[in-house]
Amino acid sequence: MKKRLVLFFALVLALVTGFTAMTATTANAATDTSLSKVQKKGTLVMGTSPDYPPYEFQATVHGKTKIVGMDVAVGEKIAKDMGVKLVVKSMSFDSLLVALQTGKVDMVISGMNPTPARRKNVDFTHTYYQGGYSIVINKSDKGIYKNKDSFVNKTIGAQTGSTMYNESKKQTSGTTVKGMTSVSDLILALQSHKIQGVAMEKPSAQAYVANNKELAAIPSDFNLSASDTSASVAFKKGSTALVAAANKSVDQIKKQNLVNKTYLPAAGKYLKTNTVNTSMFHYWKAFLTGIEYTLIITVCSVFFGFIIGVILALARMGQGGAIKTGFRWLATAYVEFIRGTPMMVQVMFVYFGLGLIVNLPALTSGIIAISLNSGAYVAEYIRGGINSVDDGQTEAARSLGMSSGKTMRFVVLPQALKNIWPSLGNEFITLIKDSSIVSIIGVSELIFQSNIVRSDTYRGVAPIAVIMVLYFILTFTASRILNYFERRMQHD
């Protein structure tokens, strides 16, 4: 099953687990209120990463995009049996468990297999599906490859960090194993003959083959333990009552073979409607949503980042007095710290870290994180801009009786802003591009949307080309507008 475990996310997880352990009261069966809480609010929030057909993926149903797949069907059954409504929340696979621990979601169903490492942090239900692995090849090579052992001196691709990736390395000899993050990219590499096979899960392989006449699937013949190929539902550690309730549903699913009989065929149907029309125009709504969110994030972050930047710059320039010195020190430390850590970590920290205290939606978290980040950079521009204004300007203003505050506001800042307008403009353009980082917490901006379209259409390049053009249109338009204002400000 999907098991991408980037070290970084493991660290965040460990951190969050630590926090939770400190703050949360340890629950046991007798006192566990997890089930009654869910029943009281009437909704069961399921976290999933919808880029993995037929487990979960986005489909266009009556012109609306919707998350579907066999995992969603499983989630619906569990919710129904509990007598509550299912709410599906999408985010990147790597963020799912952290979201579970911080209470952003009640459960995770995302083709996740219950490895011992994961069991340390969350509780799993019984297995609802026992899968297996196949290798997808080009149909033209069908006679050449039989199983994993046919790839001597060839290359097999697999999702980086997945079980398949590790097993391919371990269980083949003389075969190069190439790792990539997304299955769509791997299929693209296969079709352009950069690799000769892609190891993936059986249902996924079937979906790809069914939707692409150029591809074929062969058995992998890997030696695997059951726990490496099974899928379970994850709950927050200690929610015994919820797990017990979900297990009842899962046991029914197993007994009646619902996954193979009902859920997979239903998902397959969506896949068909989904791939009937893989033209990019068909997905214009998805891209439009992407543009909309990218712009919302950028504009809000620029606005708040600017305000934060001004405050930081003024704090950094304050002279004299213990309080002013304290603020100066704080502002300097803040700017150095923000500039010395990756924006990605900051986004994760705000979403998951702050999430322990207040439950912020992903979009808000993203805007906060990027504003805080941008503020540190803008502060430096503004400081430079203020320093570039001649001291004589301040003296003239002060000699006219203006207070230091009014001098700053009416005389120095307007001139400083004019001087740094090009830098601020650059910051805006940079943010249009950098806002893509919030895709990791599941905000549906352009990159996130293009990934969805890629996995829905099985087309690797076209969506990338589309967003490339879209990004360029955004940045180019923005820079024209900024230039226009820059010219209007030129008086001397």
Binding site: D390, E395, A397, S399, G401, S403, F410, M489
Partner: protein, 246 residues
């Protein structure tokens, strides 16, 4: 006896170890025109800037209209600065504003005067300095002489009781010096109290009530222009005059 408007008592100012002003005690009466002259680096600018507290004195006091500036809080100092206009060698006009906006800014933002009244007053002042046709120009399009006259109008817009000038003509081309000095002379004729740092000896002779000669951190001589130029008392002043009058 009229009360002095500015009284300086034992004023001293150092920058680190550099004692620029050592011990200055002088006073300015209402309506008086004082010309401060002296060698470069003698502390004239520093002295002038201590009068409106742009520079904080190291010791001693500066009384304005009976209030000791060095003991007042920032708010009161700001209020008293309104009553002391200052004109700089480098004009220091706000480059991002038109001439009119330069003049209107402080009256509107500090005194809270409404736009119409401020505009009306600004035009009056511009007429006074013969520049009303440049009201909508930006400073960058003005000649030095014009810019300095705008700066004078800007300072006058706060209706100050005293005007401080720091070498107002030193940065000007020679042919523009006259137009600025004329405006200053007119101001003096109207009874404005003025402290002027300048190297224009003609102006000092014809307009000043007193000449203060400043060197080495002290006011070395305080005299009428006739006495000072005709019969300088100190060797320092004689030396200085012989150099510049050649």
């Amino acid at each position: 006896m009229t009360k002095p408007i500015i009284e300086v008592k034992n004023l001293a100012k150092s920058f680190g170890k550099n004692e620029v002003l050592k011990d200055i005690t002088e006073q300015v009466d209402p309506g008086q025109v004082i010309v401060v002259i002296g060698p470069s680096g003698g502390g004239k600018s520093t002295f002038l800037r201590c009068l409106n507290l742009l520079e904080t004195p190291t010791s001693g006091e500066v009384d304005f209209d009976g209030e000791n500036l060095t003991t007042l809080d920032t708010k009161r100092v700001n209020e008293l600065r309104e009553e002391m206009g200052m004109v700089f060698q480098g004009f220091n006009l706000f480059p991002n504003m038109t001439v009119l906006e330069n003049i209107k800014l402080a009256p509107m933002k500090v005194k809270g005067i409404d736009d119409a009244a401020a505009t009306k007053r600004a035009h009056e002042l511009l007429k006074q300095v013969n520049l009303d046709d440049h009201a909508d120009a930006f400073p960058s399009s003005l000649s030095g002489g014009q810019a300095q006259r705008v700066a004078i109008a800007r300072a006058l817009a706060m209706d100050p009781k005293v005007m401080l000038f720091d070498e107002p003509t030193s940065a000007l081309d020679p042919e523009m010096v006259g137009e600025v000095l004329n405006v200053m002379q007119e101001l003096a004729n109207q009874g404005m109290t003025m402290v002027v740092v300048t190297h224009e000896m003609g102006f000092a002779k014809s307009v000043a009530d007193r000449v203060w000669f400043m060197a080495d951190g002290y006011i070395q001589e305080n005299n009428t222009p006739e006495a000072f130029f005709g019969n300088p008392q100190t060797e320092r002043a004689q030396d200085f005059l012989s150099k510049i009058l050649m």
